[in-house]
Amino acid sequence: MIKIEKLHKSYPIGKEFIHVLKGIDLHIKEGEFVSIMGSSGSGKSTLLNIVGLLDVHDEGKYYLNGQLIKDLNEKKAAILRNKFLGFVFQSFNLISYKTALENVALPLYYKGVSRKERNEIAMDYLDKVGLKDWANHLPNELSGGQKQRVAIARALVTKPKVVLADEPTGALDSTTTDSVMDLLKDINNEGMTVFVITHEEEVAAQTKRIVRLKDGVIVSDELTKAPKTV
């Protein structure tokens, strides 16, 4: 599903370049539940942005669903994102003036789904994350955990191949963290590839495979011994 070979990425800081990713090799198959662990500055968010086509890499090869990602223009990237990828961000990134339902339906709008149909689908997914009753609330009327569940529903609504979650529990307390992780596990159990970035051991422990990143290189890549299933 995701295949990365010798990936490099640097960022300019003033006149200097900071080499963030120094040759990453990673292969994630369909249906995996992978977490990337690392302290801040290890390059994990950069990796997710590249995998999510939100940023471009400098060197190396990246295959998404068998397709080589190279010289993508913004339009193609947008279409691929819409088709294959669902995002969950640490800061939720919901549009503040849209209701939960409208936020979830937004990717379908850009996919060209009719209004009636996309509202139905969006409602199904809100139901799935347990927020059907909150469909017409604005993000600022929801708790952090609820916002993140709306964001997860939005990530799922286009039936992507991969869900990319960047510190999905970073802004949540432990109880809501568990409920969000349970939700991600459910999704994975239904066959979805889930790719989580975190610096919390408890979060990583709930995934099936942990990749540890340090200073831009992978230092370990192992399956968790007893992945909990619910």
């Binding site: 003036y97 990717p107 209004r115």
Partner: protein, 409 residues
Amino acid sequence: MFDIDRWREIFQSISKNKLRSILSGFTVAFAILLFTLLFGIGNGLQNTFKKEFAGDAINAIYIWSSFTTVAYKGNQIGKKIQFKNDDFKFLKENFSKEIQTISPRIQRIVEVVHKSKKDTYTLRGIYPEYQIQESAEVEEGRFLNLRDIYQKSKVVVIGRLVEDDLFGQLSAVGKQLKIGGIMYQVIGVFSDPGGDNDERFIYTPFTTMQRLYGNTDHLDEFGITYNPNLSIDEAIVFGNKMLRTLKEKHDVSQEDQRAIGLFNNASGNREVTNMMIGLGILIFIIGFGTLIAGVVGISNIMVYVVNERTKELGIRKAVGATPKDIVAMILQEAIFITTISGYFGLILGVGILKVVGPSLKEYFILNPSVSTPVVIGATVTLIIAGVIAGYLPAKRAARIKPVVALSAD
């Protein structure tokens, strides 16, 4: 292309971000309002000028005769110079190219009686062309025509105020008037932009008057309009040439300033024309300046709007919006807001001019108004400016990497 979904997105974005929408709308509405008001007032000033000088045709020349003040070719000082019908013919033949219309004129002060009402007016015997020279407009009935001239009919066309004085609310057309003891039929009523004096004249065929008053071929004056293709300088030269030729014909010294008089509107026109041009330039600068201010305003607002929305645009891109989607959304919103608020400013401006306009008369502002094409042109200019002003930042925003946009606050 009409895309109901995109319109929904736009309406939501506008109504949920009221302050932003009102700010950008206000800029445009205010610019158009100012433009309409200033332009309208400028036009009002111009109207005043036009009216002040529109009493007679703008290209009119009048020639009259008097007594000589210089002895010349055996003529003594104090000899009355008398124009006759052959002078009429002479001018018509010699200046056929330069003359647009020419009419001789005889004028008498007469007592006019209708039933119990009686008053004194100026009776003028003229040719139909005289109507053009006075800029008279027929309000009712008809003006004199050539048939009246040939038949020497006893008919009159009376000024609007003559009708008011003698007939009150009733129509004078078809009624009989006793003028200087002779019955005339009223065939028409005219109005004249020249004002009250000009609307108290009574016109009758030149030939009728010549026969009834003295039965000679004498006449008092000539009214002429010069060919409008002549430039002002050419028109002044033409007037001087006529004067010189007439003086020669009547054995009047060229030095004699009194024996034959000539008034040429062209000389006054030069000043008026210059003033109008100056005023026009002023109005143009005012209008242009207001528009520029509006364009700058809407551009600033658009830059601000796009900046403020960077994060939202990043989210939209992350969930699959293409750069084209982003640009189109911002532009459509900009066009919508500028059009609606531009229209609002226009209506408000025109309304204010309508309400306040009449009370500005004493400040030399007459009928302040703007022509629809001018205002629509201004609005379209602002819309285009809004589009360009919105397009550049929108394009930039659409190009920002989503990851950068998402991290914006």
